[in-house]
């Protein structure tokens, strides 16, 4: 939704809003966690291709960030998330999901281990209350850094060259590593695009200075400021999920049984039953064998995006729906994420069809397009993982 970044509407300006406003030609703002964030800056297409061919800068400060410090921080996090946090070494970042007692996913996010007893959790949904409950009785201190720590996502094939030109040495960082490049500037080799890329974390008031430093360094390396619409294309290509789109966070459901387990989201590998108790463990033990549906990555026949299409078994029985569907400009495939009821998702995955609606020149048409399950990401360039990273 396009909205005006008007403070009287209750929206707050992000830490680099001055810079974004000066660059914005589309004036296309949307509300992200109470901030006026850019849906686009120049043109979605141009921004997307900058992301995949050059580099892109995107403000991720509206993410929620929580610091957990103390002797039992690891124990608290291991009760919270489904994976074994103790396996994450200092200097590493891990993707994690966490559930309620019924095994339904509350949110997903990234877990940074800064030191043995010092952690940061970065996620989409506000989580302070839930964290405080999980930490009850433990020796841990929880701080909400959401409004004091800013984040900038620098993503794309020239992102390493840009950091290098800015005098920031990150050549040694492997995928999912993080390090303090300078005092008060942490850089992680992470992102939401499936490409080579970094996230920069700094005190809120430093964000403009860091933005300017990166912007100057990127002048000859194709750097562009981008908005969420471009990021969204890239994240679907990478096969990443968005809360509220590909799954409904269980704490944001009014209707019963709208929650989903990690198994139903294709995140079974994120659940470690061997690590001891964690929220939802008992429920997940029984849910493991009986997922009600499965979130599948599918290749859609033909060239029309299948966003919002219903999924049918043998073109007859309605068995699911597409949550995210686009024509991928880089993978050159018609790709989608689809929720499909289990017996059909697993027993006859080649007999699934999406009913795709198209509207062209004033006429609506419906067409059945065959779905082909795809393993892994739709686009996974080798440069995303190569270390030392490529410069372009």
């Amino acid at each position: 939704m396009t909205i005006s970044p008007d403070l009287t509407l209750g929206l707050v300006l992000g830490p680099v809003h001055d810079r974004l406003e000066a660059l914005s030609r589309t004036r296309n703002w949307y509300g992200w966690a109470g901030y006026a964030a850019p849906a686009s800056v120049e043109s979605v297409e141009f921004e997307y291709f900058a992301l995949r061919n050059q580099a892109s800068l995107f403000d991720i400060s509206p993410m929620h960030k929580y610091r957990l410090r103390g002797r039992q921080a690891e124990a608290v996090l291991n009760r919270l998330v489904t994976r074994d946090a103790s396996k994450l070494r200092p200097g590493r970042v891990g993707y994690a999901v966490w559930c309620d007692e019924e095994g339904m996913v509350i949110d997903d996010g990234t877990l940074f281990r800064l030191a043995d007893d010092d952690w940061r959790l970065c996620c989409q949904e506000p989580m302070l209350d839930w964290l405080a409950e999980a930490a009850w009785g433990f020796d841990v201190e929880i701080a909400d850094e959401s409004y004091s720590l800013a984040g900038l996502a620098l993503q794309g094939p020239t992102s390493f060259a840009i950091l290098d030109a800015a005098g920031l040495d990150v050549a040694h960082l492997k995928s999912f590593d993080h390090a303090a490049a300078e005092p008060d500037l942490m850089i992680s080799r992470t992102g939401f695009t499936g490409d080579l890329g970094y996230e920069l974390w700094m005190p809120w008031d430093d964000a403009t200075a860091v933005w300017d430093r990166i912007w100057t360094a990127g002048a000859h390396l194709g750097l562009r400021a981008i908005g969420y619409e471009a990021v969204n294309i890239a994240r679907i290509e990478a096969g990443f999920l968005t809360a509220g789109v590909d799954f409904q966070p269980v704490q944001a459901t009014e209707r019963l049984n709208r929650g989903l387990t990690p198994f139903e989201l294709g995140l079974g590998h994120m659940v470690d039953f061997s690590k001891g108790h964690f929220n939802g463990r008992r429920a997940l033990l029984s849910a493991r064998e009986a997922p009600r549906s499965l979130l599948m990555r599918v290749d859609v026949e033909g060239f029309k995006p299948a966003q919002g299409a219903l999924v049918y078994h043998r073109k007859r029985r309605e068995v699911g729906h597409i949550t995210s569907g686009i024509w991928s400009p880089t993978a050159k495939r018609n790709i989608a994420l689809a929720h499909v009821a289990t017996p059909y998702a697993t027993r006859s995955p080649t007999q699934l069809w999406a009913e795709v609606y198209t509207q062209e020149e004033g006429r609506w048409e419906a067409r059945m397009a065959r779905l082909t399950p795809v393993e892994g990401a739709f686009f996974a360039p080798p440069r995303a993982r190569a270390t030392p990273p490529a410069r372009r």
């Binding site: 995949r52 061919n53 000859h220 880089t330």
Partner: protein, 545 residues
């Protein structure tokens, strides 16, 4: 790479069409060998580092026609192909102005209105006429052209499809179709527009790569040929291959090799071997011999038939028809390494059209005069140029802050006239330098400080294209795209099914339907025919089937 003596199919030439044929056949389970005369692959879809740090797409330079069905079937993005669309373009004038071609329809209309309010409104109907014809043609690109004289079920089936499509068009549009295939781009534009500059800008696509002028019949079709591609469904949109056009060839080769194919470079075909009227293999220039019951030639039909097949095994009328095949070189190319981005004083700062295709021709008569020069064996005194700076959006083409400029030049003859004789031999260093001087003068109309930025420049006349790539007379389409040699007449009437009178010999390059451009369609169509006619594998799988 281990070479074996025997293969199911040998592909002669590792151009993008040869690699496409090879990749489809390897996927169908055949043992396929591709042989290439150069030490590198790609034919005219190559990326070459001829100045350290700069990559030149030194033949073909932009991408649109490559069929999305082929990209998807052969999984080319998985093998490294990334296509980057560019926006718009512009024509600059000697009096310091410009006409910008925006991809946004309304922005374009507003820009046209600066020159002619009437033309701005006419563009809607012009564009509709073009797009309707493109919609009509596109489905035929990955189908065989039916032979109307044949009663084979397949030809009858294709003919029925053609009739059905033509009937669907209706009488008025079908009339338009015939006009399009036969009229000149100049006449067509004059029917729609009044402004010289707008007409000159739009006419360029009608003459690129062809030995015809803007008033020559057939050039309206050449324009269509350049509009019938797409990028991500945007019909007529163009882009760059990340890393240069060689990225397309590299991805095709990787797809091919992943499915068990073998590529042998550094030795071209000396002779296509035959026995009892059937192909038995190839003998290479380095003396190696490989056996196969099927040879697909990616070389143009003239080169294939007249230079590499024993004339005794072919019917004389076929050989004469091949000899008559029109394949005239008409284009040259400058590839330039720039130390930084040159100034375009007429354009507003950061104009998006500077990232697109730029030209400096101002009227149809000026373009026709450029053609007149070509007819008498000279390069144009005021050539039509199609120049782009891909390094603005592709960081792999030049070091940071530096740029690479590609300048396509129309017209330059193959058989240059010098001292009363016309010959490709006349293209020596001095002539190439003199032509480059003419072209740089033309670039200066848009970009007066260009000379201060040039670090290195490669100059390619049609003669280099022939010598290096193997294209006869340096014709970029492997044969003129005129109605007399299109569709079921391409390359030779009666042989539009990619076959030749010699059993087992197929033509898989742009000499065959649907013709030139980095499209891959002839290669995919040839593979489909080879699978059906020569193997047990039968039907080809995929979107191009």
């Amino acid at each position: 790479m281990t070479l074996k003596p025997d293969y199911d199919v040998i592909v002669a030439g590792a151009g993008h069409n040869g690699l496409t044929t090879a990749a489809y056949l390897a996927r169908a389970g055949l043992q396929v060998l591709v042989v290439e005369k150069n030490d590198w692959i790609g034919g005219a879809a190559v990326s070459r580092e001829l100045h350290p740090g700069w990559t030149y797409s030194n033949c073909s330079y932009v991408c649109s026609l490559l069929r999305r069905e082929i990209v998807r079937d052969l999984d080319l993005p998985k093998y490294g192909l990334q296509v980057i669309p560019y926006e718009g373009g512009a024509s600059f004038t000697r009096d310091g102005n410009y006409f910008a071609y925006y991809s946004d329809h309304d922005a374009l209309r507003r820009e046209m209105a600066r020159y002619s309010p009437r033309d701005a409104d006419a563009y809607q109907r012009y564009s509709q006429a073009i797009m309707r014809q493109c919609r009509f043609i596109r489905p035929f690109l990955l189908r065989d052209a039916p032979d109307p004289a044949s009663l084979r079920p397949r030809d009858l089936g294709e003919m029925a499809y053609l009739v059905k499509k033509a009937h669907g068009l209706g009488a008025r549009e079908l009339g338009e179709t015939l006009r399009f295939w036969t009229m000149s781009i100049g006449d067509f534009l004059n029917e729609h527009f009044e402004n010289d500059l707008i007409k000159a800008h739009l006419a360029g696509s009608g003459i690129i790569g062809t030995g015809l002028g803007v008033y020559s019949p057939g050039t309206a079709y050449v324009l269509l040929h350049h509009y019938m591609g797409d990028i991500d469904g945007g019909i007529g949109a163009w882009g760059f291959a990340r890393g240069g056009m060689g990225a397309i060839s590299a991805a095709l080769a990787a797809s091919f090799e992943t499915h068990g194919g073998t590529i042998h470079t550094g030795a071209g075909v000396a002779e296509i071997l035959t026995q009892n009227g059937r192909v038995t293999g190839v003998a290479l220039e380095d003396g190696k011999v490989f056996n196969a019951p099927v040879v697909a030639s990616n070389m143009d039909i003239k080169r294939t038939i007249l230079r590499h097949v024993d004339r005794d095994v072919l019917p004389e009328d076929y050989v004469r028809a091949v000899d008559r095949f029109k394949i005239r070189g008409s284009s040259a190319k400058l590839n330039i390494a720039l130390d930084s981005l040159p100034q375009f004083p007429a354009a507003p700062d950061h104009a998006s059209f500077l990232r697109g295709d730029m030209h400096t021709s101002e009227s149809l008569p000026e373009l026709e005069r450029a053609y007149d020069d070509w007819k008498i064996g000279r390069w144009s005194e005021k050539p039509y140029i199609d120049m782009l700076i891909p390094s603005q959006i592709d960081p792999t083409m030049a070091p940071p802050g530096s740029h690479m400029m590609t300048v396509f030049v129309q017209y330059a003859p193959y058989d240059l006239a010098v001292g009363g004789t016309r010959s490709g031999e006349n293209w020596d260093e001095a002539q190439r330098k003199a032509m480059a001087e003419t072209v740089v003068n033309q670039i200066e109309i848009a970009c007066p400080d260009i000379r201060n930025h040039i670090l290195h420049m490669e100059v390619r006349s049609p003669a280099e294209l022939e010598r290096e790539v193997g294209l006869t007379e340096g014709n970029i389409f492997q044969g003129e795209l005129t109605f007399d040699q299109l569709f079921f007449n391409r390359p030779i009437p009666g042989y539009s099914d990619y076959s030749t009178p010699l059993k087992g010999l197929y033509i898989c390059g742009s000499s065959a339907h649907p013709g030139g451009g980095v499209m891959g369609a002839p290669g995919a169509n040839a593979a489909r025919n080879i699978l059906r006619r020569e193997t047990r594998a039968g039907r080809m799988k995929g979107y191009a089937a």
